[in-house]
Subunit: 185 residues, 2 copies
DNA sequence: TTTCTCATGTAACGCGTTACATGATTAC
DNA sequence: GTAATCATGTAACGCGTTACATGAGAAA
C-alpha cells in the first residue's frame, strides 16, 4: 500500500485533514489514485494505529469535526526508510497497444483515425501536466534541491508522453507510406 | 475487464487452451498481467457464456482433459468492435517517482545510489524487451502490416524505457553539478 | 529423487473504485 | 433555488494477486 507512504510524505510536509489529502491526490496529474474517501480515511486510520501520525480534533459546527493529522518522529523515520527502498521499474498499462495488437482487421483509414484519437488524448494529458507543472500547487519547496526534484518529476511525466507522441507520428507516417507503396494489403 | 479482449484476440489468431494463454500472458513483457489461473479460467468461462468462443474437449489420460477454445463469429465481431474503441492514455504507476518526491531528506550520495539502482532496473527491463522483440514468440504474422504493428508495439515499450534512462542520466548529472557548485545544501 | 511440464480448477485476500449517507455554509 | 465546498465516514463490488489442490509423465 504505497498510498500510505505518499500520504505520510505530505503529512511530513505539513499537517492536514483527510479532506485536504483527498483533494491533493484527486487533483494530481501524476499520482495514480482517484483520491476516494474510502482509501484515504482507511489509510489514515492505519497510519494512526502505527503511530506514524498523530491526530488533533478541531471542533466545528455545521460540518464534521476536523481531524488534523501530523507526522510523528516514528513516522518520519518510516518515511525515510521507504524513500530509500530499492526502486522498481514503472508499471504501465497501455490498453491502446492491446487494441493495436489486433487492429489488422481494420482498414488503413480506421487505424489512422484510432492513432489520431490517441494522439489527441495523449496531447491533452501533456497539456494538463504542463499546466500543473507551471502552477505548482501543493508543492513543498523547502529547499532548492527539493524544488528541483519536483520539477524533474514533472519533466519525467511530460517526457514520457512526448515519447508517445513521437511514436504515434512515426507510425502514422509509415502506415501511410506503406499504403501508397502497397507494402501491405 | 480488458484481459477478456486480449484473450479473445489470441483466440482469434488460433485455438488454444487456458494453459496456453496463461503461458503467453505470463511470459509477455508488454501485457500487464501475471497470467494467474484464476483470472484466465474465469475469463474463458465468461467468454464462453457470451458465446464469443466455443469449447472443444480433448480427452487425455494422466492430465486433466484439454479444453480447446476457439473464436466464434460473434466473438470476431466483438473483438473488432473493441479494437475500434476510443483509445485511452496510458496508465502508469511510477512508485519510484513517489519515493523521489520525499527524497530531499536523503543526502546526495544516497539519492545518487537510488538513481543508479533505478537506472539498472530500467536497463534490465529494456534488455528483456529487446530479447522478446527479437525472438518474437507468440506473434501472429498473418500479414506484413500486422507484423509491422507488433514491431511498433515493442518499439513503443522500448522507447518509453529509453526515455526513462535519458531522464535518469540528466538528473544524476545535474545533481552532481549542483553539488560541486553548492546550489543546494 | 527431485524438479519441471502439462492441465485444470478454487479460496482467500488486498487494493482500488463507485456510490451511498449526512448536513451546514457559501456562491451563483 | 441549485450547486459547490467543507468534512467525515461506510457498503458493495471488481480486478488482480498469491497460494492451495490434484496428479501423471518426462527430464535432470
Amino acid at each position: 500500500m504505497s498510498i500510505k507512504y505518499v500520504i505520510l510524505g505530505y503529512l511530513g510536509w505539513k499537517p492536514m485533514t483527510g479532506y485536504d489529502l483527498k483533494k491533493i491526490i484527486a487533483d494530481s496529474e501524476t499520482l495514480p489514485w482517484s483520491g476516494n474517501n474510502n482509501q484515504i480515511y482507511k489509510a489514515l486510520v492505519q497510519l494512526h494505529k502505527d503511530e506514524w501520525v498523530r491526530k488533533v480534533t478541531e471542533n466545528q459546527t455545521g460540518a464534521p469535526n476536523r481531524h488534523i493529522y501530523s507526522i510523528t518522529d516514528e513516522g518520519e523515520l518510516a518515511l525515510r526508510e521507504w524513500v530509500d527502498n530499492e526502486p522498481e521499474s514503472p508499471h504501465t498499462k497501455k490498453s491502446f497497444l492491446n487494441q493495436l495488437m489486433w487492429a489488422d482487421s481494420l482498414d488503413i483509414k480506421e487505424i489512422d483515425e484510432l492513432l489520431e484519437a490517441y494522439l489527441n488524448t495523449v496531447g491533452e494529458k501533456i497539456f494538463f501536466l504542463r499546466v500543473q507543472a507551471d502552477r505548482k500547487p501543493n508543492m513543498p519547496e523547502r529547499t532548492p534541491r527539493e524544488r528541483y526534484l519536483w520539477e524533474m518529476i514533472y519533466k519525467n511525466w511530460i517526457a514520457q508522453y512526448e515519447t508517445e507522441l513521437d511514436w504515434v507520428r512515426q507510425i502514422r507516417q509509415e502506415l501511410s507510406k506503406g499504403e501508397t507503396h502497397r507494402r501491405w494489403v
